[in-house]
């Protein structure tokens, strides 16, 4: 168990900057997810923490102790790999015992920890099997047990569930979460699957092009994305361009937008005339008449998905995506009222480009 601090980390591969001045502070026992598209630097960051990659600049500290110069085999991290990386020539038990053997843990202690780990991940009875004789989910469990048995300060997960089918993935991510909660080990989890990140983490770090876009609790990053990138990457979003027209209350503003006047709530300090980008989640758009932010639209497409219905609704020439539960079914061509609450539309970008760019030149 340890606190992990990353200060101003930079890693370049030739001309490509994989990590661009990244700083991050992870509390002891916290479960952090690094989320982002491929090439965003999340795996490079994870591999730097493990010691496989030497950063060009910046420091990595475990409990305030700099580990940059410590080789991977001396760092107290344990990693679960995307390909599981189980040793094919060793049985389940030998795989799990490998790290203890390397660290010369005494026999009785090792045996105890191995059987605990095996029991913890539910592999009892399979100790003598070889990895190729196990299913994907079982191999995954061996990989987790092999990491846990080390009692590491920091657990690292490199997209560990991406090779499993959807059902198993959902089951395993809950199991991993519960294990981590039980053992209270600091965990860093890399994934490109936003649903996985939301389910599993205490905090989500959203990365793009080597830079952290936003750090926050799952509810924060989902409900209050700080950029169009985050809004778009986590879930789906309707983006609406607007201009600040009037201040209604301390944090409530009236915007003039491409679909009409919208009332929004924000912590940002806005000025009249600012151009902004708004984001509204498809499930926050309701097809009913409301007291404010109500617009007239026509349904252009309707897709029935079972647990919800996916609509595209044209409002003032702009297509909005709406997801609603299938209780009230509309047909294509139906005329509908679209409404959303002021707190459900978020300003994700200040776009008064003209002012800023001229100011910089």
């Amino acid at each position: 168990m340890a606190r992990l601090t990353i200060n101003n980390l930079v890693k370049r591969f030739g001309d490509f900057t994989a990590i661009d001045n990244l700083s991050l502070d992870i509390a002891d026992g916290e479960f952090i997810t690094l989320l982002g598209p491929s090439g965003c630097g999340k795996t490079t960051t994870l591999r730097s923490i493990a010691g496989f990659i030497e950063p060009d600049e910046g420091d990595i500290l475990f409990d305030q102790k700099r580990v940059n110069d410590i080789p991977p085999n001396k760092r107290s991290t344990a990693m679960v790999f995307q390909s599981y990386a189980l040793f094919p020539h060793m049985t389940v038990k030998k795989n799990i015992a490998f790290g203890l053997k390397m660290k010369k843990v005494n026999k009785t202690e090792a045996e105890k920890r191995i059987s605990e780990a095996i029991e913890l991940v539910g592999l009892t009875g399979l100790e003598g099997r070889f990895p190729k004789e196990l299913s994907g989910g079982q191999q995954q469990r061996v990989a987790v047990a092999r990491a846990l048995v080390m009692q590491p300060d920091i657990l690292l997960f490199d997209e560990p569930l991406s090779n499993l089918d959807a059902k198993l993935r959902e089951k395993m991510r809950v199991e991993i979460r519960e294990l981590q909660r039980k053992l209270k080990i600091t965990a860093i989890y890399v994934t490109h699957d936003q649903a996985e990140a939301l389910v599993i983490s205490d905090r989500v770090v959203i990365m793009n092009k080597g830079v952290i876009q936003q750090i926050g609790k799952p509810t924060d990053v989902y409900n209050r994305p700080n950029s169009a990138f985050v809004a778009d990457f986590i879930g789906t979003a309707n983006f609406i361009d607007g201009t600040v027209k009037e201040k209604l209350e301390a944090d409530t503003w009236l915007l003039e937008t491409e679909i009409g006047n919208i009332k929004t709530m924000t912590e940002y300090q806005l000025a009249l005339g600012d151009q902004v980008l708004l984001s509204v989640r498809p499930e926050d758009l309701l097809m009913e008449k409301g007291s404010e932010n109500t617009f007239q639209g026509v349904i252009t497409t309707q897709t029935y998905m079972g647990n919800f219905v996916d609509y595209h609704v044209e409002v003032a020439g702009k297509s909005l995506r709406i997801q609603s539960n299938g209780k009230q079914l509309f047909e294509e061509g139906d005329s509908v009222q679209v409404h959303f609450r002021p707190e459900d539309c978020t300003i994700v970008e200040m776009k008064d480009v003209n002012q800023h760019e001229t100011a910089h030149q």
């Binding site: 990386a85 189980l86 040793f87």
Partner: protein, 287 residues
């Protein structure tokens, strides 16, 4: 014209005809010549029918010495070159300056015919060759070292090793490259240092390649002719040299075919051992 045969048989005929040039060539020249040698070893000049009398020669001291000498050459060359090839394979896994240059230099022996290489190295190692001259100039030795035509086969071994290092490396590196790099990361992550990674992960997983390379070099050295002919001593002589001398100098086809058969059978035994070991390794019993 349509042949009066069923579709299935026509397909079979097609496959047979397609395979005929390749398989037929091997069957005819390879198997038939092997069989001729083996059959000839059971015949004796001036005697009708078959006999095992020729094989009594195997038990004579000179023949036994030849067998032991050849086995020694085979084993020492196979493991001797592995001693160099394996560390070089590990070295080649890393990135360093001049890697490509080293890689091409190492491969040179592959492209130099054994005969040429033998002449060059024999000259270098000879009693008045460059190596001995240098060592004597440096006052490291007083008398020239007998490194060629010696009864321990040191000269043969050196040439075989020189020739077989790149050959073994090619085989082992092909296997090593197929090892998932994440396994090395995993081992490092679990606390293994570089030596432990090699010992517990890379070597066990390269074992099929190491085994093939050792057995192939054994057979090459055991059955090779030019090198022991030029760099070997007067006595004992390696089996292939014995075969050559028997046939071309003594016109003794009886002995020649017996030696040939012994070489063939030894090779087959090696292949059998290899298959056995390979199965065990794949079953995960070894290591």
């Amino acid at each position: 014209m349509k042949l009066p045969i069923s579709k299935k048989n026509r397909e079979r005929l097609n496959i047979f005809l397609l395979l005929l040039p390749g398989v037929g060539f091997i069957a005819f020249f390879f198997i038939s010549s092997l069989m001729t040698t083996v059959i000839r070893s059971f015949q004796m000049d001036g005697i009708d029918g078959y006999t095992i009398a020729n094989y009594s020669k195997v038990l004579q001291p000179y023949f036994l010495d030849s067998i032991l000498y050849s086995i020694w050459i085979g084993i020492s060359s196979a493991f001797g070159s592995l001693l160099f090839a394996l560390p070089l394979c590990f070295l080649m896994r890393n990135h360093f300056r001049g890697k490509n240059l080293l890689n091409s230099l190492i491969k040179i022996p592959l492209f130099i015919p054994a005969l040429v290489a033998t002449f060059l190295i024999v000259n270098f190692l000879a009693p008045h060759g460059m190596l001995n001259l240098i060592l004597m100039r440096l006052n490291l030795i007083r008398e020239p070292l007998k490194l060629v035509q010696d009864k321990y086969g040191i000269g043969i071994m050196i040439i075989q090793i020189w020739k077989n290092i790149p050959f073994q490396m090619l085989i082992i590196m092909a296997v090593m490259e197929s090892i998932n790099p994440a396994l090395v990361d995993a081992a490092r992550n679990l606390g293994a240092n570089r030596w432990q990674v090699a010992r517990h992960v890379l070597i066990p997983l390269s074992m099929p390649g190491i085994l093939v390379s050792v057995i192939l070099v054994f057979i090459r050295a055991y059955g090779g002719f030019e090198i022991p002919k030029l760099a070997g001593p007067v006595y004992p002589i390696a089996l292939p040299v014995l075969m050559h001398t028997s046939i071309t100098e003594m016109f003794d086809w009886d002995t020649g075919s017996v030696v040939g058969t012994v070489i063939i059978i030894s090779a087959m035994i090696m292949v059998a051992i290899y298959t056995k070991l390979a199965k065990k390794i794949q079953g995960g019993d070894i290591v």
